[in-house]
Structures are given as structure tokens and as C-alpha cells.
Symmetry: C2
Subunit: 339 residues, 2 copies
DNA sequence: CTGAAAGCGCTAACAA
DNA sequence: TTGTTAGCGCTTTCAG
């Protein structure tokens, strides 16, 4: 790999001049030298050394996406279809903006912060952070960052987040179930904080509007680890007679539950109806096709990168919390009881 | 962010000493100074500057995975479940080996090479490269690299690849169809080079063993672009009466085809049987569950990283082409004609 | 056991 | 229009 200095020496000119033509600051350089330099660059296929450039400029051209991943849930986080699509969209946006993407996945915030600062990244996108994580990160990392899918404590300011109408989504889904005549509806998720908590809220609100209470045992909490999930599904199967419908916090579980139950003889949606959340690929693959809440994951990634790069470029942002819309997509997994 | 120099100054010692304790070259440092330095490091949360370190050492601690992605097929490459799982496995392996992962996706080899050399990456994993791409890359990039799923021209040497028994997979799948009594079997893929060509070979070989010829029109080539796929599926539907079974080069298409056909009234597997390849999540989601060829994608990613890091650390490798096994997984998408 | 200093490749302020 | 030079933070050789 040839360096600026070598080009300069070979041409008998200064590094500044070479540097200037490399950066198109060509107003102050004679035509002749420009051509000479460009010929050299082409001939030797000059490529800048990012480490040197970054060191000199105290930046990095790197956008990092950091994800806090529960060990039991994400043995391979990117394999998850939601995470995969989101990171794919982020990757594409970052790349087309001439930045580079680095990925840190860990359940240890400290480790994530160390990596981020060792590379001096220009901006940070944070996935799966809790409220507590957020304040810690905000305190330690002083450069632009945007959270995705985070819910913060009320009073904190200066956080940028791109999220979803989570509560509205499950509210719509549950209301749809109610309108279809369902009254015994369980909720299903693998945790009850952050996004899933909001989704639970939406579910509850819809029930309340119909004057239906919600008992603690109507919330089925799934344990995603491979050696535990079976037991959870089995328990659900065991209690499934008590419900006519299931409101799931994600398509992932909706589809899993549908197949588990139908493989054990339950007819979906006649014996039990199911709604999901996310509208990912599996929602259209499964049969009956899944009625679910659609979100635009790709858009989410794009918006996150767009917001972040604006901040990286010194712009001040107005909205602090960008909420993307959701929409009910009716397919075939819900029975209309009242027809 | 505090620097080595600042620590040294504050302590009234030299940067060399500080550096030595940072790197555990502690034999030549007195207990007292070690403690002082470590206290400083903890207090100010010293984190090394990678750009500086890399510049000084002429390396980067970065492993890059570069993927050549057809524009029509991969609008968002990581969203694809095969790519997502593979990259996820690579990410995890890279991370646990204390390296950092950068991702470059492009259909322009030149651009990929430029990025790779601008960051001075220590090693490179290449996805989706054709034989031609490979020789070009090999010529330009002089550091350790391993290809995944590539097929090279016969005579080239010194390439490291981790691949699959592709031909064997479709051979087994097709043989299984034949054993079940199927004689009119179409093949379905979106290209006919590299991996998919091998898979086609396997299909043909099985047919030949049964004395069955294979006409050109039995190869259905799908066009993955959103605005073209419908027409391809429609054509397949149109000709589907002529076949009793479909051998698909990937689960992606197998599942798509199953749903397309069954939504149009075809009964699977009674009207038409389907086998896939990959055994990804959708194979177990779709109903009837897909009979397919299983591959261990995670293993593939792990092996690629493991091989690569060995080379990065100066080891010479023996095998140049690591072929991972495949295995037929029988589920419910194939009809037994002979029972 | 400790320190001085050169150098990695690039940038940018200043000089000419 | 072009050149000089002092860094950026870390490594490493060599000398004490």
C-alpha cells in the first residue's frame, strides 16, 4: 500500500499538495500537478489508511450498533428475524452514507461502552436497552446516539429514541379479538418490561374498555431458552381450554404457539385464535396465515441512522422520540365468534 | 478519554512503563509502580485508542465479512435467514476471539477491496463469490481470507473455502423423491452457477441413476425481484400439472412455492410434493412441514472464523476446502406414491 | 527497573 | 500555488 508521502516524494512535491488533490481541494493546485497526482493514485491504487486518518482527526467514520442481548434468548441474535432485518436496514443506511458499521452484542453494558470508546465511534445505535441501561450509557458516552425500542423513565431528557406505537398495537389487536366476539384472551410474552410491557398495557386497556378484567395468570411468560420453552408451551396447551384467543407480543411466539397447538390437535382458529405482533416473514408462511400487527422494521433502521447522522453532523434535532405507526393486518388466524 | 502519556505525566514516569503494565509485561516493573499505574487506569477508566494502536502496529484487529449481493435478490441481505444466521455465527465467533467485525455488502468487488484495505483488516471472510471474483480478490488481497460457499475453477490453489456437500444434498433429496415413486420432478433455483449449479448437478445425477432424463424446461429459474417473482410463481403454477414433485435449491423458494400453490388450491403433498434445502426456520413453520436437506449454518460460520484466525496467527492450514456434511430431514411435504 | 525518542500515515495550521 | 512541520496516541528499540 502506497502512502501520501511516497507519492509526494516520487513526484518531488509536498504531502500537502497530494493531500489536497485527494480531498478535492483543487482550487489551489495547478492543473499539471493535479493530473500527475491523480495518475499516481490510479497507478498505485492509493487507498487512505483509516487508522491514520482517524487518529489525526479524532474521529472514526464508524457507526456502531450495540445490542444488549439476553443470553437465554439470543444465542445468535442476528438470526432472529426482527434483529436481522433491523440490522440489515441499519447496515445499508450506514453504508450508503459512507460510514462503516461495527456490531457489538453483549449483555454487559460496560463491555459495549469499552468497545465503543476504544474505536472512538462517531455515533451509536442502541438496541434492547432498559431504562437503567440508558442512563448509564448516557452518562458515559458523550457522542451522538439513538436508542431503538427503548422506554425511559419519565423525567429524563436528551435521549433520542425511535420506537413504535407498541401499546396501540396490542390495543388494536385485542380490540379486534373482542370485536370478533372473544372474551377469554390470554397474553403471551417472554418478559414484562420495556416494549413488551407496553404491549401488555395495550392489551389490558382494550380488555378494560370491554369491562373485562385481567388476571395475573392470563399472562403467560415464555422462557426462550431451548431447554425451557417446551415446558412453557406445554403449560399453555394445558390451559388452552380456558381461552378462545391468544394475544402474543411477537410473531415469533405466535407462530411457535400456533404450530405447537395445532400439532397437538387444536384447530386454529376454531379452537383457539391467535394474533401476533411484528408481521415478519413467518406470519405469512404459517397456515392459517397470522393476523398480526404490522411494523416497518426497515423504516425503523433507516430513521435511526438518519437521525444519528444528523447529530453526527452537528445538527440539533427537534423530536426526541420518534414513534413509528403500526397497523393491524387481518389474515386467517382469528375466528369470528359472532357470525 | 485519558491517554498513556497523561497517565505517565501525572505519575512522573515514562510512557514505556505505563505501556508495559497495560500489556502485562510486568516482569520488569516494580510492584509499587504497577500499583500506581493500575490505580490510575481504573480511576480514569483508561481505554486504548485502537486507531493509534493499529497505526503503530500495522494491523487492525478487524475481521471483515464481505458479501457480494445481487441487487435483485438482496435488498436487505441480513434479513435473509441463511445470511442472518451465518453472519450471526461469524459475529459471535469473532467477538469471542477478541476481534471486531466489520461488514461490507456490495455487488462491486472493487469497492469491497477498497474498504478492506482502507481499514487494513487482519482477515477476510467472503460470501457469495464466484470463481472469477475469487481470482480477482486473491490477486489483490494478500492477507488471510476464507471463502464460504465458493466453487473455484479446478486448477487454482491456495484458496481456503468452507462449503457444503451441495450436490450430495440434492442427490439425496431427489433420490428420496424417486424412492417415494415420483418420476416427474422439476428443479427450482434462481441461478445456475456456484452452489445452485452443484445442487442442480446432484438432482440430475439422481434422475440419471433412475434412467430419467432431464429436459431444460424442468429447470425453473426464479427471479427474486419483487416485481418479477409473481410471474415466475405463476408460470410454475401453470406447469405444475406436469410434475408430481419439486426439488428446490433452497427452503426460501420451497416454502414460497408451497404457499403459492396451496393458496391456489393445490394440495401439498398430494397434488405436488416439495423438498427444500437448508432446513431453516421456515421449514418447520410451514405446513405441511418441509422435507428438506439440513445444513449446520452456525457451524459453517464458526469453522470459517476458526480457520481464518489460525491463518491470522500465522499457522499454516492443511485442508484447503472444508466440506460440511448435509443430511436429509424427512417431514411431511412429500407424498409416498407407492403405498 | 525505567526513560527517551523515533515512527506508524495522515491532517492542518502556518509559512513561503 | 506549494512546502514545512507539529502533532494524533501508541509501540518499540535502545540506552541508561
Amino acid at each position: 500500500m502506497i502512502t501520501i508521502k511516497e507519492i509526494a516524494d516520487e513526484l518531488g512535491i509536498s504531502t500537502t499538495t497530494v493531500n489536497n488533490v485527494i480531498h478535492g481541494k483543487t482550487k489551489e493546485v495547478s492543473k499539471a500537478t493535479i493530473e500527475k497526482v491523480e495518475k499516481m493514485i490510479a497507478k498505485y491504487e492509493y487507498v487512505p489508511n483509516m487508522n491514520a486518518r482517524n487518529l489525526a482527526q479524532n474521529r472514526s467514520k464508524i457507526i456502531a450498533v450495540a445490542m444488549k442481548a439476553r443470553k437465554d434468548k439470543y444465542e445468535n441474535a442476528i438470526k432472529d428475524s426482527y434483529v436481522g432485518e433491523l440490522i440489515g436496514a441499519i447496515e445499508k443506511s450506514v453504508r450508503t452514507s459512507e460510514y462503516f458499521l461495527m456490531i457489538y452484542i453483549s449483555d454487559d453494558i460496560g463491555e459495549i461502552l469499552k468497545n465503543v470508546s476504544t474505536w472512538n465511534v462517531d455515533g451509536l445505535i442502541l438496541l434492547g436497552m432498559s431504562g437503567d441501561d440508558s442512563v448509564m450509557i448516557k452518562k458515559k458516552f458523550k457522542k451522538p446516539m439513538v436508542f431503538v425500542d427503548s422506554y425511559f423513565c419519565q423525567d429524563v431528557m436528551g435521549y433520542y429514541n425511535v420506537g413504535l406505537e407498541d401499546a396501540k398495537g396490542t390495543y388494536e389487536a385485542t380490540k379486534y379479538l373482542l370485536e370478533c366476539g372473544h372474551r377469554k384472551i390470554a397474553f403471551l410474552a417472554d418478559n414484562c418490561v420495556g416494549v413488551d410491557h407496553e404491549r401488555f398495557i395495550g392489551y389490558k386497556r382494550a380488555l378494560q374498555e370491554y369491562g373485562i378484567g385481567c388476571r395475573e395468570e392470563d399472562f403467560f411468560v415464555m422462557m426462550p431458552a431451548e431447554n425451557e420453552i417446551e415446558a412453557c408451551l406445554d403449560e399453555l396447551y394445558h390451559y388452552s381450554e380456558q381461552y378462545t384467543a391468544l394475544c402474543c407480543a411477537s410473531d415469533y411466539y405466535a407462530v411457535m404457539v400456533m404450530n405447537y397447538l395445532s400439532d397437538r390437535g387444536k384447530i386454529i382458529p376454531d379452537d383457539i385464535s391467535v394474533v401476533g405482533f411484528d408481521d415478519n416473514a413467518s406470519a405469512t408462511i404459517v397456515r392459517p396465515a397470522l393476523t398480526t400487527i404490522h411494523q416497518d422494521v426497515t423504516k425503523k433502521g433507516e430513521v435511526a441512522v438518519e437521525k444519528l447522522l444528523k447529530m453526527v453532523n452537528g445538527e440539533e434535532l427537534e423530536e426526541e422520540n420518534m414513534i413509528l405507526p403500526v397497523k393491524l393486518v387481518v389474515r386467517d388466524s382469528v375466528k369470528k365468534m359472532n357470525q
